[in-house]
């Protein structure tokens, strides 16, 4: 009889125990959980085992938060494929720049779930990626649209940073609970149809640099050459200067010496010098000896200005 009396209490206790037991849950190391209490957000739970909530009153929502997620634009990596294998989506690439040119831009957005509460509660489960994709697409295009095609082709770092900040701001506005780690522009290039023209501009720039370098090379060659020639001329002039003076000194010293001798015995020396000279020069010349009076008669017959060819 005593047992029957306590039966309802026993059933109650068993029911309570069952209810309490159902309240245990684990949060895996890569997860966080949020708990809604009577529908209202109550707390965020970090990883651990034997966490407890009140079933029926509280709801637990778990979310993986540690993995970095990525969304690709302009291409898709094939799942399971190695590295370079991608599927192109050219229609996602084409963008307008501020100078109304077109440019092809591939990019990838990497993000994490920053706040599971916002992530789970503020956007619908099926739309979270789509919101991120649409926002990233709009933001990157807006940023590209503010730059000229040349800026887009060269200053991709700046575009990445600006786009990341703007995308983060937009997503915060939607309470997406997402932290954008980075936006990486992959291939940034002129559209296929005009790529050649762009390449030609690049080579024109190189041509310009080459022309300048060549001209500098010319300068480096011509100016030293001129300096060399100038030094040569000046050196030769110096040498001429010295030589003339030395020659003059030499000649005059010789003269002075002879003059000294001459002064001692003028007549004899004069005679000697005269005879020595004639002795030196006459042997090699043709000579005709004529009586003084005969000169007038014979002179017309002498072939002047031409060598006498009389055999000797």
């Amino acid at each position: 009889m005593r047992g029957v009396r306590f039966l309802p209490l026993l059933i109650l206790a068993a029911g309570l125990a069952l209810w309490a037991f159902q309240g245990f849950y684990d949060v895996a190391p890569d997860e966080q959980a949020i708990v809604l209490s009577l529908g209202r957000y109550s707390r965020t739970v970090d990883p651990g085992v034997f966490r407890w909530h009140a079933p029926g009153i509280e709801t637990v929502l778990k979310q993986r938060v540690t993995t970095t997620l990525r969304e690709e634009f302009g291409y898709r990596s094939k799942p399971g494929a190695q590295g370079a294998e991608v599927e192109e989506h050219p229609e996602e690439k084409v963008m307008l720049t501020s100078d109304e040119n077109l440019v092809d831009v591939d990019f990838v957005v990497q993000y994490r779930i920053g706040d599971p509460r916002d992530y789970l509660l503020n956007l619908r489960p099926g739309e979270r990626e789509e919101v991120l994709r649409d926002a990233a697409r709009a933001v990157v295009r807006a940023v590209v649209a503010q730059n000229t095609v040349d800026q887009v082709l060269t200053a991709r770092g700046l575009i990445q940073d600006t786009a990341r900040l703007q995308l983060q701001a937009a997503l915060d506005g939607y309470g997406a609970g997402v932290r954008v780690e980075n936006i990486q522009l992959q291939d940034v290039e002129a559209p296929e149809a005009v790529r050649e023209a762009f390449a030609d501009v690049a080579s024109a720039q190189q041509d310009r640099e080459r022309a300048v370098l060549e001209a500098q090379g010319y300068t480096d060659k011509v100016v030293p050459e001129a300096r060399g020639r100038s030094e040569e001329a000046v050196n030769l002039a110096h040498a001429y200067h010295e030589r003339r003076i030395l020659e003059a000194q030499g000649e005059t010293e010789g003269f002075r010496a002879v003059l000294g001798e001459y002064k001692k015995a003028p007549e004899v020396t004069r005679q000697r010098l005269y005879l020595e000279t004639l002795e030196a020069i006459l042997p090699r010349m043709d000579k005709v000896i004529l009586e003084t009076g005969a000169t007038d008669k014979l002179l017309p017959y002498l072939p002047l200005g031409r060598r006498l060819e009389a055999p000797r």
Binding site: M95, R124, A135, R141, A215, E231, M285, I289
Partner: protein, 304 residues
Amino acid sequence: MSRWITGLLLAAALVVFALFCVTIVDEREQGFRTFWNQAEPTLFGVALNRPNLTEPGWYIVIPVVHQLSLYPRQNILFHSSKRSLNTVERTLVDADYYVVWRISDPRRFFEANRREETAVQRIDELTYSEVRETVNKHRLADLLSPERDTVQQEITAASNAKLAPLGIHVVDVRLGATLYPEENLSRVYERMRTERARFALKFRAEGEQQARALRSKADGESQVILAQAERESLRLRGEGDAEASRIYADAYAGDAEFYAFFRSLQAYRKALDAQTTVVMSPRSGFLRYLFDMGGGAKSDKPEK
């Protein structure tokens, strides 16, 4: 004993009924509750129902008496299809856009749309007309500049004004792709090519210009260097000559007559060679002893 059990069962039944009368609306939801299909019925001036359940929590919804429509409280994405837009300068642009919106007033939403699909259709129509009109007021250049944000904010504000009566709040409207229509692309590419060709020409011409400048500068510099060297060497040579003549003058001034004699002899040695024919008189100084041992009178130098 049996009274006990009866009491207990009664209590349990009450609890179960009470549970049926309570509905939990969580953070992701909001509801519109009516009382006998009336939003705000009154009894002797006392309000019997609060229709808008916008905050999460538990609410009494008695079966049959109350009717509850649950709606999402989250932000909802609407993505437009591709639209053809005209800018103020009549440039055709293909664009799409997206709208992030949420239900701000469940009662109005219920009354105006009842179902989400109806609302989405209205959002599509209304935002499209706002996008079209706003873009039509701006130049394409505005969309391709920081102005784009302003344009988007204008669209958002205008859409909000139109959709607020329907219980809809527009969080954000953004333009996605803005592109030239397919059929205009070839002209755009042609223009881009022309522009690039101009750049290429300009760069090459610049290179030519700079190269010419550098080369002519180098040539000029070397000419100046050579001219300076010319001047210097002419000066040096002149000075040498001057110094030499001074030395000669100094030396020969001593005895001008002897100098003339001595120098003439030297000149003869050089000037008269084997090509020369001399006609000599036996009476010349050199030959005066040739036919006359006594040496006769003095005579002239040899003549040519």
